[in-house]
């Protein structure tokens, strides 16, 4: 049976520490930003947004929303617009993969992504001298001119598959494969697993009260489930980008 990997994010547990962002960059060999690089041109496969209830001090309340590729399962916008077939949905896992070797750099996929979760390599990847020794051997750095995004740490999945194969198993056992952000999260706000497995934590989390998906109305079947007990937090489900101006309440 095919897997359908997904994530659950408990916004009420997220402290916005940023450990997931840094762990993601370490795992996937994303370089540090050069001087002057802003959020628009930087590369953060996973970005934590700070949102608030729109009130003034001292009534203001904040929350943190980790935002990554939502791994759309149906009518995946980036797949549809890519002229190079550089984006594919893996039917065995449900993961939307990006192949930089095929990418033309046209950035149609960035324009099509309703979640703004794709990033373009404007510059060569550069690490401070000596720091390239710390690169993850399972992930190749991407060159200038291609788009990249979260792929649920495909390097880890390959490692887990190799380990499983070495022990004579066909499938990866739950827990043998978790993305770097899940492993790094100190509060346990991010969970990962197979949505097709009813016993998995993510499958249980999506059935909980207060669970929602971002822009579910688009019908793209995103596989990232968020959860919050706070009503004003759940309103981000209708917004194209958490904390953006588009999300401003009247």
């Amino acid at each position: 049976m095919n897997k359908r990997y997904g994530m659950s994010v408990d916004i009420d547990k997220c402290t916005g520490c940023g450990a997931c962002m840094v762990a993601c960059a370490v795992e996937n060999n994303v370089p540090p930003a050069g001087a002057g690089v802003t959020g628009r041109k930087g590369i953060t496969w996973l970005r934590v947004y700070k949102i608030d209830n729109g009130e003034e001090y001292p009534e203001r309340r904040s929350a943190f929303v980790p935002m990554l590729c939502q791994q759309c399962g149906v009518e995946t916008p980036c797949v549809h617009v890519c002229p190079q077939q550089a984006v594919e949905v893996d039917p065995a896992t449900g993961i939307v993969g990006q192949m930089p070797e095929r990418c033309l750099g046209c950035r149609y996929c960035m324009a099509a992504c309703p979640y703004h979760a794709r990033y373009f390599n404007w510059w060569d990847p550069v690490w401070p001298p000596g720091m390239e020794k710390t690169l993850n051997p399972d992930v190749a750095p991407r060159m200038r001119g291609v788009v990249e995004k979260c792929n649920f740490c495909h390097g880890r999945r390959h490692r887990a598959q190799e380990r499983a194969a070495a022990t004579g198993q066909r499938d990866i056992r739950p827990g043998d494969y978790i993305p770097a952000c899940v492993e790094a999260c100190p509060t346990g706000a991010i969970r990962f697993g197979d949505l097709n497995d009813p016993a998995s934590e993510v499958a249980a989390a999506r059935r909980q009260d207060g669970s929602f998906r971002l822009l579910e109305k688009l019908g793209t079947d995103p596989k990232i489930y968020y959860r919050s007990r706070r009503e004003w937090v759940r309103q981000i489900a209708e917004a194209p980008k958490p904390g953006g101006k588009e999300n401003a309440r009247a």
């Binding site: 994303v30 003034e56 060569d124 990847p125 000596g130 492993e183 790094a184």
Partner: protein
């Protein structure tokens, strides 16, 4: 028949048509990619993948770390018991940080200190992370010098157990953002209700069950105020003749210690010894102790040195045993009236309603065990915890891990305020490990005019600008060091931050440098300490590699040491004992801290950011406050330290959170309230009486009006002005 004209048409049409296909663009792109591939794209190292264990040395929390290595080179770090903080996740980048110090004249520095020592001048060593084996070596070295002084910030003489708490009142402590060991804090989080009293909506405030937005700098005022409000409730009940009020409320209202050690404490109090009262007496250097009072009632009424104890409370006079004390018996009517006035004053200082404070007190009483946390875990915080009955439940003593007997002859720990001004001819500062930060404004007066200052550091952004000699040190994960137990560890601990990569040749080991000055051989100090722990035979060894927990007595010394060096952790037994004696605060730190334009009574000053976790890097141009002046027309803002910046060096990859996502306040940004008159992204100069810094303005509605937050400035509260540029 095809003509030549047709041929031209076909060729021309094909050329034009080709432009509308991806082919030429693909060719251009591929050419560009090929051209990009040859020189610059780094190739990750290949080799055998190994897993090694160590402990993160970036902060006193000392999280257990599992390092994935290619050969000997770590390529990723992960937590063992839970996640790591963002600084720890990228800790293996630090040896390659471009801003790392790489030069220093070790011989010149050693000669300068030796010259002072030979001339019988006073040589002092400032240890910013006390409690390590290195600290014992420093103390031994200072004892060996003719006039050696060992300086260190105050360490909490107690530990807290969050797992047993049901209600936690945090007075500005960054409980969910770098306080204690993250794995313990978040494992316990679902078990307690968190009330966060803080002026700014910090990460902890955002995730707290209840956030109380108090006035800037007034957080610590709530500690005694909560107790005072609770006592009011008790008096009311007494008046109404509520049955059982005495038995139900006395322990809470008067801090009668329960659990281990309570009898000893009561006995000591009966004997007239200075017990809990001495702890509680003078939260800010005034109060009952000065007046000679030792009872709990005295403490109750002296939140900031203006209480009933000074006026002669009944508690102070009677010196009643704590456990048997009853509100009206101990305090008397006069004291209560005084306390009422204090409650109103504290409400005014904090900006909270008296009923809110009373409600908080009731919550601490009714939903116990309770725990009060301060930004710094000082003796005052311990005192308040004793008052809420936390001693022996959520707060308790913790012994230090055993040390070799012969080390006990080391130099004592001298608090900096006890050093005479102008008396230090040479000062060595170990800044290699992030720890508490003491403002230079507090250090500088202690130095003689021509004093030698030797700084052992890995970067230039701390005390470097004040040093006469700067020596580069190893950084995590190059340095071998042990880690003192964090404040949330009830049992003593011993764990090593084992190097994952070798230190470069230019790096000077601080312990080696200091011990050489005193002629000590301290190379095997950690091993000797481990042997001493093994000889004591207590506790267990937890090996993360296999998850096994083995009693120390079942191990041979060599096995014990080998396991520790491989990333295992020794955990001792929880201590049981009476409330420790704690001297009153060395110097009063009282400064007005109010919203500009509102004149208030004296409020406690936030001590400069000596977080138990990570020392913020000093901001160039802005010195920490020595004393705060109230905001006025010339200094209309309060400058406050925002979040911790992760120590003197952070991985360049932290650009993800400081620069690209702006998730945290970066070192050159300042946060202001949207109604402060500044535009998002505009540039401004923050001016204090110590200097000036140019910042980019970030508007944040979680910052109260009249306050400006700057990351890593190392300041508590400081009056400042913000100038548009």
């Amino acid at each position: 028949m095809t003509t030549r004209r047709d041929l031209f048409k076909i060729v021309g049409g094909s050329a034009v048509g080709l432009l509308f296909t991806p082919a030429p663009w693909r060719l251009i792109a591929d050419s560009a990619l090929w051209s990009e591939n040859w020189p610059g794209i780094p190739r990750p190292a290949r080799g055998e993948i190994r897993t090694r264990f160590t402990h993160c040395g970036l902060c006193p929390a000392g999280c257990a770390v599992r390092a994935r290595c290619v050969g000997e080179q770590p390529v990723s770090l992960a937590g063992v018991e839970g996640g790591l903080c963002p600084f720890g996740v990228a800790g293996h980048h630090l040896p390659y940080h471009p801003a790392r110090l790489k030069q220093g004249d070790r011989q010149a520095a050693a000669a300068a200190v030796a010259a002072v020592s030979e001339a019988h001048g006073t040589v002092a060593l400032l240890d910013l992370r006390p409690g390590r084996t290195a600290s014992w070596t420093y103390r031994r070295a200072m004892a060996a010098l003719p006039h050696g002084v060992y300086l260190a910030p105050e360490e909490p003489a107690f530990a807290v157990d969050l797992a047993k708490a049901k209600t936690v009142l945090s007075l500005g402590a960054p409980l969910l953002d770098g306080w204690g060991r993250p794995s313990r804090v978040f494992a316990a989080r679902s078990g307690f209700r968190l009330i966060q009293a803080e002026a700014v909506e910090s990460r902890t405030a955002a995730l707290a069950d209840q956030w109380l937005p108090v006035r800037p700098g007034a957080e610590m005022a709530l500690g005694p105020a909560v107790a005072a409000a609770r006592s009011d409730a008790l008096q009311s009940r007494d008046r109404e003749g509520v049955p059982g009020a005495e038995t139900n409320n006395a322990p809470l209202a008067y801090g009668a210690p329960t659990g281990p050690g309570s009898e000893a404490l009561q006995s000591r109090d009966r004997e007239g010894a200075v017990g809990a009262g001495a702890i509680l007496d003078a939260p800010f250097g005034h109060g009952a102790a000065r007046e000679g009072a030792v009872g709990a009632g005295a403490i109750l009424d002296a939140p900031f040195g203006h209480g009933a104890a000074r006026e002669g409370s009944a508690g102070a006079k009677t010196n009643a045993p704590l456990a048997n004390a009853r509100g009206s018996d101990v305090l008397g009517r006069g004291a209560l009236r005084s306390r009422d006035r204090e409650g109103a004053g504290v409400a005014q200082i904090t900006g909270l309603a008296q009923e809110q404070i009373a409600q908080m007190a009731r919550e601490l009483r009714d939903n116990g065990p309770a725990l009060i946390l301060g930004r710094e875990m000082t003796s005052e915080v311990l005192a308040w915890n004793v008052r809420v009955g936390a001693w022996g439940k959520t707060v308790g003593p913790r012994e230090e891990a055993p040390v070799p007997h012969e080390w006990r002859k080391a130099a004592p720990v001298t608090p900096l305020p006890q050093v005479a001004d102008g008396s230090l001819q040479a000062l060595i500062i170990d800044e290699s490990s992030a720890g508490a930060r003491i403002p230079w404004a507090d250090i500088q007066p202690k130095l003689a005019p021509d004093a030698v200052v030797v700084l052992l550091a890995c970067a230039r952004n701390g005390y470097a600008e004040h040093a006469t000699h700067l020596l580069p040190t190893p950084v995590y994960p190059e340095a071998l060091d042990d880690l003192p137990a964090p404040v949330d560890a009830m049992a003593s601990e011993f764990r090593l931050s084992t190097p994952l990569v070798p230190a470069p040749e230019y790096a000077v080991d601080p312990v080696e440098f200091v011990s050489a000055l005193a002629g000590l051989d301290a190379k095997d100090a950690l091993r000797r300490r481990a042997d001493a722990i093994h000889r004591a035979g207590r506790g267990r060894l937890i090996a993360y590699a296999d998850g096994k927990s083995v009693p120390v007595k079942d191990l041979k010394p060599e096995e014990f040491w080998k396991a520790l060096a491989s990333g295992a952790e020794w955990i001792g037994e929880e201590s049981r004992g009476p409330v420790p004696r704690i001297a009153p605060a060395a110097s009063p730190r009282i400064a007005p801290a109010a919203v500009p334009g509102i004149a208030l009574a004296a409020a406690p000053r936030i001590a400069p950011a000596a977080s138990p976790r990570i020392a913020p890097a000093a901001a160039p141009g802005i010195a920490p406050a020595a004393a705060t002046t109230p905001p006025d027309a010339a200094w209309p803002f309060f400058l406050a330290a925002a979040e911790e910046s992760g120590g003197p060096l952070v991985s360049p990859l932290l650009s993800k959170i400081y620069q690209e996502s702006r998730l945290r306040l970066g070192p050159h940004r300042a946060a202001l309230n949207p109604h402060s008159g500044f535009a998002e992204g505009s540039r401004a100069a923050i001016e204090t009486r110590y200097g000036r810094r140019i910042v980019e303005v970030t508007l944040d509605a979680g910052v109260p009006p009249g306050m400006v937050l700057v990351a890593g400035c190392g300041a508590g509260l400081e009056a400042c002005r913000v100038v548009r540029i």
